[in-house]
Assembly symmetry: C2
Homo-oligomer: 237 residues x 2
DNA sequence: GCAATAGTGTCTCTCAGACAATATTGG
DNA sequence: CCAATATTGTCTGAGAGACACTATTGC
C-alpha cells in the first residue's frame, strides 16, 4: 500500500486518544498585586469550581494550539493577550475523572485595563490575587499548574522584562519595578533595576505622567522584541 | 444531574480529538560530536524516512506522559535516560497528513556507551551528528523540532551542567568542557569553565583516568540535583 | 519649605575573560 | 628531557548590590 492509499483508508475516529485540552494562566497586575484570571466551571466535571480558562481545540477554527489559546482568552477577556508562551503540558491518568487526559498550558500576560470592561460585567470570571491562591481550591490539578506558572514567571522576573506585559502599553520604570517586586516578594535595588534595563536598550521614551504625588515618572513603551531579550546575569534570588 | 451520574454517562469515544503523540529528542556525545537518535519509520505515513523516536500513550502501561516517553526510549535503547525534560508541545492542522495532530516533545540525554549495545545491532535506529542534520530530511516537522531542541540545549550549556548527562556516570572536566564547546560551536576558557563548576560544588571526585596522552584528568560524578542547578551568570554567547 | 516620589553618583564585590605559568603523565 | 594534556595563578573588566545624594512635582 502506498501512502495515499493509506491516508484514504485512515479513519481517525477508530482510535481513542486521551482527552486533549488547552489551558491558559493569564496574569495581570493591578492594585499592587499580581493576579490570575479564573473562571467558574459551568459544566461537569468539577462544576461550580474555579478553574483556569481553557477548552478544546476546534479543528475548524484553529490552525494551531496557539490559535486555540488565543481564542479562549479572547472569549473571556474580549481582547488578545500581547504575550503568550507555552508553559508545559500536563498529562496523566488521574488529573481528570473522565480518564487519561492531557492539557497544554500557556502563560499569558495582559494589562488589567485592557480587559477590565468585559471581566467586570461577568460573574463567571474574576481576577484572583496570587497571594491569596492558597485559600482557594481550584478544579482538577489547576492549583499545581498555577504554582508552576508562577514559579516560571518569577524566574523570568530575574532575567527579562517579560513582566512588563502585565502593564499598559505605556508604563513607568517604578511601576515595572513594583511588578517585579510583587513577583519576587522582596524589594529590588532601584539603581540596579534601572541600569540594566537602560543598558539593554529595551524601551522607547514617550511623554510624562503624574503619580499620586511626588516627581512624575517618565513613560516608556516596549521596543519590538523586548520580551525575547534575556540578561546575561540574573538578579539575585 | 450530579457529577457521578455525568461521569457514568460520559463516553469518551464520542469525541474525536486531535491525534496525540509523544516524541523524544535523545542526545548523546561521542567521537567529539553531539548526536541525536533517529529511527526509521516502518509504517505510513512518511514510511521509510528517519524520524524522532516516539509513539502514542498506552493508557494501560503509562500513568503519565513522562512514563510514555521513558517507555519509548527504553524500547529503542534498552536503558532509561538519566535526564528527561519536556521541550515543548507542537500542535497544528498541517504537521501530519492524517489531520490535526499534537506531539509532546521531550529532550533526553544519555551516555553513548550505555545504549551502544542495542543501537549498534539494529538497523532501524542510529545516531546522527547534529552537525550533519542539515543534510537529511526528517519525517513530519521533526527537523524543525530538532532545531528547537538543539537551541534549548545550547542555552543550557551557558548556564547549567545539564550537558554532563550526555557523558558516562564518571567523567572528567576536560570531557565536559568539550561537550559544551561542541554545543556552542566555539572554544571556552578552561579556567572560567572549571572555576564556576568548582564554586557551585556540583561534582564529587572519584579516582583517576588516563587520556590518550599527557597528564591524567580527575574523574567526577554528578551530585544529586546537579542537573537542576543554574548559574546566576551565563557564559558569553 | 516640606513631603513624596523619580532618578543619579559612586563605591564595592563577585565572577567571567584572558592568558601565562605550573603540574603530571608516557615516551 | 620532551610532548601532551590537566590544573592553577592572577590580572582585568562588566555589571549587580548598597546606599547616599539630587531633581521635580503638589501643597
Amino acid at each position: 500500500m502506498d501512502e495515499s492509499a493509506y491516508l484514504a483508508s485512515y479513519d481517525r475516529s477508530r482510535y481513542v486518544a486521551p482527552l486533549l485540552s488547552v489551558d491558559a494562566v493569564l496574569f495581570t497586575y493591578h492594585d499592587e498585586q499580581v493576579k490570575v484570571l479564573v473562571v467558574r466551571r459551568s459544566r461537569h466535571p468539577e462544576q461550580g469550581k474555579w478553574a483556569l480558562p481553557g477548552g478544546f481545540v476546534d479543528e475548524d477554527a484553529d490552525d494551531s494550539l496557539d490559535d486555540t489559546v488565543h481564542r479562549k482568552i479572547v472569549e473571556k477577556t474580549g481582547v488578545k493577550a500581547p504575550y503568550l508562551e507555552q508553559l508545559r503540558t500536563f498529562g496523566n491518568s488521574s488529573r481528570d475523572k473522565r480518564g487519561w487526559s492531557v492539557t497544554v498550558v500557556y502563560t499569558a500576560l495582559i494589562a488589567h485595563q485592557s480587559c477590565a470592561p468585559l471581566i467586570e460585567t461577568v460573574s463567571d470570571a474574576k481576577w484572583m490575587a496570587v497571594s491569596e491562591l492558597a485559600d482557594h481550591e481550584l478544579a482538577f490539578d489547576h492549583g499545581m499548574i498555577l504554582q508552576a506558572a508562577i514559579a516560571r514567571l518569577r524566574q523570568k522576573a530575574l532575567y527579562s522584562i517579560v513582566p512588563a506585559f502585565t502593564l499598559p502599553d505605556e508604563f513607568t520604570l517604578p511601576e515595572l519595578q513594583r511588578v517585579h517586586e510583587a513577583l519576587l516578594g522582596k524589594p529590588l535595588e532601584k539603581k540596579s533595576f534601572r541600569r540594566r534595563i537602560e543598558q539593554a536598550d529595551l524601551l522607547i521614551e514617550t511623554g510624562f505622567k503624574q503619580s499620586v504625588s511626588g516627581r512624575p515618572a517618565t513613560l516608556y513603551r516596549l521596543k519590538p522584541g523586548a520580551g525575547e531579550y534575556t540578561f546575561l546575569r540574573n538578579l539575585e534570588q
